[in-house]
Amino acid sequence: MGIFFFIPLLIVLAVSFASRGTDGGVEWTFSLTNYAHLADPLYFRIYGRSIALALATTALCLLLGFPLAYSIARAPIRWQGIWLLLVMIPFWTNFLVRTYAWMFILRTEGLMNTLLINLGVMTQPIELLYSDWAILIGLVYGYLPFMVLPLYAATERLDLSVVEAAWDLYATGWSVFWRVILPLTKPGVIAGCILVFIPSLGAFITPDLLGGAKTMMVGNLIQHEYLVMRDWPLGSAISFSLMALVLLAVMAYFKTDGRLDRLERGV
């Protein structure tokens, strides 16, 4: 396990400080040029887009997932299992298949356009696929269950009498949510946000299939440098910075008194 995980990671780290060989291989001369390359505006735009899309995905998942998680936790016990199962089934379905479903719906000759034209909403099909919006939909669709599970675990533990007390004390709906429910479910919210943010940031399939040639994310950039450009040192530098970013997010989670295994199990 150690051999096949940590040694490869160390090789990536080492290669990120090496130079690109003439034939696309690796030349072992120490340099920092790869990291200097990272500041290239071209790459910067890709990081910016990735972070923005990952943040937007996280926010949307939170917005969609909170009411769902809350009402699951409030449902009768025997219904909770069924609801959770319903949330989990799409998660167990092949990711490629789930992404393809959106290609089928969003493409120019796809279901959405056909439907809108038949309903008379518009006369010409519009290009929905191959855009940042399509990526966003795909990411939210793909990672929503990651948000719902920890949120459910947190809201399930929430003491209802506290919420009732707030109502009795004439709090408005908004302030009950903002001042009572949200602070008490904060660990779940943070766990959910991290579980959605990390895979969204490193996403590869979603931007590859739903995004266009001009809407690359970091995951695609790494793959592009490795397999297309064959510039392994640069690819390594990019993936190592990505990992550093992710580990920072995880450490932020630790700071808020979380445990890694709980994060993984979502409970």
């Binding site: 949330v87 089928f104 669709y141």
Partner: protein, 257 residues
């Protein structure tokens, strides 16, 4: 309060629709007679028949099953030993080892893919089904370990102590007491690892060589060459298989109680 509840209920239903409608539509249109249109042109099973006769696809299914079986076996053995070993470490060191063990789960999968690719190229191992299997094993060990460990923590440690007091060797105590108690968790972990291996695309994408196409790689190349009813049919079958596997794992869990 009541208005709030109605609002919550409808938000949840909207969520479920969002989760299920795309898959439902996908399956529905796998029976559509028209090749190109997204309008319903009558039902057919033609696309399923095309799939069953596709030799390259069948070879990919075969590869996927072999990789999933071998990597699940390896990951289970390693993952269970890791979980059991971890439980015996003193608390301070355990935290560090646990973090290291779970790290593969929190880094982006692309990162693991490129790291393995570099590693195999550096030690001059040609990419093949073997490298894919190793990749899947690395990916699955922490998952098995997490599931088994969760169960292990709930075990009554007095049972093992009783076995030792009654003269069992540590191995006997593990084999006859701990292992049977862990079985439901191990079966759950096996099913999970098998499903994840069967579905894995990213690690496979980086560690597969020529001739080691697995089912997800085949699906990917089909999708890349454009939307077609055959992919819809294949997707429908994959959804069905996933559901069957979840059903199976639920049945196993049910028996535990």
């Amino acid at each position: 309060m009541n208005r709030g509840r109605i609002w919550l209920r409808s938000a949840s239903l909207a969520n479920l629709l969002f989760l299920y409608l795309p898959i439902a539509v996908l399956i529905l249109f796998s029976f559509n007679a028209s090749r190109l249109s997204a309008t319903w042109q009558g039902g057919t099973f033609r696309w399923y028949l095309v799939l069953v006769e596709d030799q390259a696809l069948l070879a990919a299914v075969h590869n996927s099953l072999v990789v999933a079986a071998v990597s699940t076996f390896l990951a289970t053995v390693l993952g269970v030993s890791a979980a059991v070993g971890l439980e015996r470490l003193p608390a301070g060191r355990r935290w560090t080892v646990e973090g290291a063990l779970l790290l593969p789960l929190v880094i982006p999968e692309v990162m693991l893919g490129v790291a393995l690719l570099l590693f195999f190229v550096m030690i001059k191992v040609p990419l093949s089904l073997v490298t894919v299997t190793i990749g899947h094993t690395v990916w699955n060990v922490p998952i098995v370990a997490v599931i088994v460990q969760a169960r292990l923590q709930k075990l009554d440690s007095r049972l093992v102590e009783a076995a030792l007091d009654l003269g069992a060797t540590p191995w006997q105590a593990f084999r006859r007491v701990t292992l049977p108690l862990l079985t439901p968790a191990i079966i759950g972990a096996v099913l999970m690892a098998f499903t994840l291996s069967l579905d894995d695309f990213i690690v496979t994408f980086f560690t597969a060589g020529p001739g080691s196409t697995t089912l997800p790689l085949k699906v990917y190349s089909m999708i890349k060459s454009g939307v077609s009813p055959e992919i819809n049919a294949l997707s429908a079958m994959l959804v069905l298989i996933s559901m069957a596997l979840i059903g199976l794992s639920l049945l196993v869990q049910r028996q535990r109680h």
